[in-house]
């Protein structure tokens, strides 16, 4: 039974489910490393998911949809940057306001544009897989090839982009001048300021990057996975991404791997729903699974994780 449960498709599904979490988590990592808490990742994903669909439906071009999703995420994050860096507002309060704004704005515009609440119209074609290698045939080699094809070559573009971003961000954070400065902003902004690093500008850039990644995560949800936007469809993923960022010890690759764990929980949840015969276990218990896992991981891990020292503290020049 378990052998038929653990198919290559399950792992592929885990990587797909991990993608939006990972993009948002890496955004959260970059943002928090600069010293700014971003609980508005949820809202950034939501506006990205929504405007991706809106622009795709309006123009018929799904790539313009992806661009729109990123722009929407950046615009929302610009408000967060202005509030938390320039106004030195409480970052959690600003994030909360933006999450509610995203929920209200998407719901409002949905009714204005499509005339009905709940969900938008569906897009005609989702973004398909990058590769389309032929599979099939019999024999051991053909089976192994079909596994490789599923686990390595079956994904849509943003899934690969997320992996590339994780690696590039890790490299940039630890091997470039920008990364060194970014980390300094979050650890000791006064010291960074003293040696000539522009603290506020650096934080703006970090927050805007997190908005772009949040928007891209939203695009992955609607344009690659679901094909339609529905109310509050991010369902807490922005917060799970924050947990992944902590579990990944505020590093991009760590964030990706932690997201993979939560993505795996989601994949198992979906698989188990269809796997069980009859209805012995109510569906709600499967749906709880990813959230329970996040709590367990935080409970077991949290004491040993240390975040950036100046996180959440607005910086004021002397």
């Amino acid at each position: 039974m378990w052998l038929s449960f653990l198919t290559p498709d399950l792992f592929a599904s885990a990587i797909r489910m991990a993608t939006p979490l990972a993009l948002a988590a890496i955004g959260g990592t970059i943002c928090e490393r600069s010293g700014v808490v971003n609980i508005a990742l949820e809202g950034m994903m939501l506006v990205g998911a929504f405007f991706g669909v809106v622009v795709t439906l309006a123009t018929g071009n799904v790539w313009l949809g992806v661009v729109a999703a990123i722009v929407a995420g950046v615009l929302l994050s610009a408000i967060h940057a202005f509030a938390s860096v320039t106004l030195r507002m409480d970052q959690v309060v600003s994030g909360t306001a933006l999450n509610i704004l995203a929920l209200g704005l998407t719901g409002f515009l949905m009714e204005v544009i499509y005339g009905h609440p709940g969900a938008t119209n569906g897009i005609a074609h989702k973004i398909g897989p990058v590769f389309n290698f032929p599979t099939g045939g019999t024999g051991v080699l053909a089976t192994i090839w079909s596994w490789v094809d599923q686990i390595v070559f079956s994904y849509t573009p943003i899934v690969y982009v997320a992996i590339i971003i994780a690696i590039v961000a890790q490299w940039a954070m630890y091997r470039t001048r920008w990364g060194l400065r970014l980390r300094a902003l979050g650890e000791h902004p006064r010291a960074a300021d003293t040696v000539g690093v522009r603290v506020q500008a650096g934080r703006y850039v970090a927050v805007l990057i997190s908005g772009a990644l949040g928007g891209l995560a939203g695009a992955n949800l609607t344009l690659e996975q679901v094909g339609v936007f529905s109310d509050n469809m991010t369902s807490g993923r922005g917060f799970i991404a924050l947990a992944a960022n902590i579990f990944g010890r505020w590093t991009p690759v760590g964030s990706y791997l932690a997201s993979l764990l939560f993505g795996f929980a989601e994949a198992i949840e979906i698989r188990m729903q269809s796997f069980q015969q009859g209805n012995q276990i109510p569906v709600q218990f499967f749906l709880m699974l990813p959230y329970v896992l996040v709590v367990i991981v935080l409970a077991g891990f949290m004491g040993r994780a240390v975040g950036p020292a100046a996180i959440g503290k607005p910086y004021e020049k002397e």
């Binding site: 609980i39 509030a83 106004l87 030195r88 507002m89 409480d90 959690v92 309060v93 600003s94 909360t96 306001a97 933006l98 999450n99 509610i100 704004l101 929920l103 209200g104 704005l105 719901g107 409002f108 515009l109 949905m110 009714e111 204005v112 609440p117 369902s235 807490g236 917060f239 799970i240 924050l242 947990a243 902590i246 109510p282 709600q284 218990f285 749906l287 709880m288 959230y291 329970v292 996040v294 709590v295 935080l298 409970a299 949290m302 004491g303």
Partner: protein
């Protein structure tokens, strides 16, 4: 410590104090409404018609008042009731520097517990059953906040993430309870109707001389007002309240003063959870008289509670007024959608803007004061020179 912090430099009377502290929130509401109007106009609808309809939906008209028909205002108060409980819950957490963003989960647990106890205790006399149900719901809410509280106190897991996760878990747990063990005889995803003995009496039943036609507002609102006073008293006059404020104000100072941060955190978050649980119970006993998915789908309450608390600057008495404002927005939204064809989601946008402006204004006033202080210091320096 925070006593001296709160004491104004110049002695002022109560009205001056109210005006000074309420100025920023009132300005925030006006600004948010103005931007809301712009958004309505931009979407091709009439903002004057929209807000006119909203006011009528929230407060009714003079002709209605003359015949003792306060239905619209009753709707506002009935919407304000769970918001007041939820607002108190979140404000109490904020006082200890804890952000109970997942109050909605505790609210749902309170609601489903109230429904369960209502079915069990329905045969008991009202004055026995209702207090027991309310206590049960408060305990359920507190229990749901307990694990995040312990995790915060023991390992430092941030309550924003853990309470949010628990809120989603609560959503699915209650959804299972009402579609499984507690589903009604017809097999719908809702509990059976509660016996009338455990319904909270409505205002027209309590005060028939004033409310001559049926209203939705119920005893729950009076309980909320009483609790607001109690919470104010706890914060102001008790050792527990002092600890909560001290931890919220300055953790290190509080610890040096002999206050346990861990224990205070657990107390504060659990009390917050208990208040949120009562929000759910009051909605079930006072308005819906059963628990169904809409109670959770209207999951607005827990989140709107954040706006309620922030607008009230976490002052328990101010929470009541703040809740009435958001209750009015929510009650009027239906009429607005009907009359002016403006999606009721605009209320959420206005809510977000209010949170934003209140948050930003606090910073701005702080900034102005600081600038004044710096200017004064500079004058002092030049005197010495």
């Amino acid at each position: 410590m925070s006593e001296t912090h709160e004491a104004p430099v110049v002695r002022e009377n109560l009205w001056m104090k109210v005006l000074r502290t309420a100025g920023v929130p009132l300005l925030s509401v006006v600004l948010a409404m103005a931007i809301g109007s712009i958004i309505i106009a931009a979407s091709g609808k009439d903002p004057v018609l929209a807000f006119g309809a909203l006011l009528k939906g929230a407060f009714g008209s003079p002709e209605q008042w003359q015949i003792g028909n306060f239905r619209a205002f009753g709707d506002t108060i009935s919407r304000a009731t769970p918001l007041a409980f939820a607002g108190l819950a979140i404000a109490f957490g904020f006082r200890a520097n804890l952000f109970n963003i997942g109050a909605n989960g505790q609210l749902l647990l309170g609601a489903v517990t109230a429904a369960f106890l209502g079915l069990v205790l329905g045969g008991q006399p009202t004055w026995v059953a209702i207090p027991l149900i309310l206590i049960g719901a408060a305990l359920a809410g507190a229990a749901w906040a307990f694990i995040p509280a312990i995790l915060k106190a023991k390992v430092g897991a941030h309550e924003v993430i853990t309470t949010m996760m628990f809120s989603w878990i609560a959503l699915y747990l209650t959804s299972w309870i009402i579609s499984g063990p507690l589903k009604d005889a017809a097999g719908n995803s809702q509990t059976p109707m509660l016996p009338q003995a455990v319904w909270l009496p409505t205002m027209d039943q309590l005060l028939p001389a004033v409310f001559r036609t049926p209203v939705r507002a119920h005893l729950g609102f009076i309980i909320a007002v009483g609790l607001a006073v109690l919470v104010w008293w706890i914060l102001k006059k008790t050792t527990l309240g002092y600890g909560v404020r001290a931890v919220g104000f300055n953790q290190w100072a509080a610890q040096n003063g002999g206050i346990s941060i861990a224990i205070t955190t657990v107390y504060a978050l659990c009390i917050s959870g208990a208040l949120a649980g009562l929000a759910g119970a009051s909605e079930v006993l006072g308005v819906q008289h059963r628990m169904f998915d809409e109670v959770s789908a209207g999951s607005g309450f827990g989140f709107t509670g954040i706006a309620v608390a922030l607008l009230a600057k976490n002052h328990p008495i101010a929470v009541i007024f703040s809740a009435i404002l958001f209750g009015a927005l929510s009650a009027g939204a239906g009429m607005m959608q009907l009359t002016a064809n403006v999606p009721d989601k605009i209320i959420m946008i206005v809510q977000a803007l209010i949170i934003f402006f209140v948050g930003a204004e606090t910073v701005i006033t702080w900034f102005i004061k600081r600038r004044q202080k710096l200017a004064l210091e500079r004058e002092g320096d030049s005197d010495v020179a």
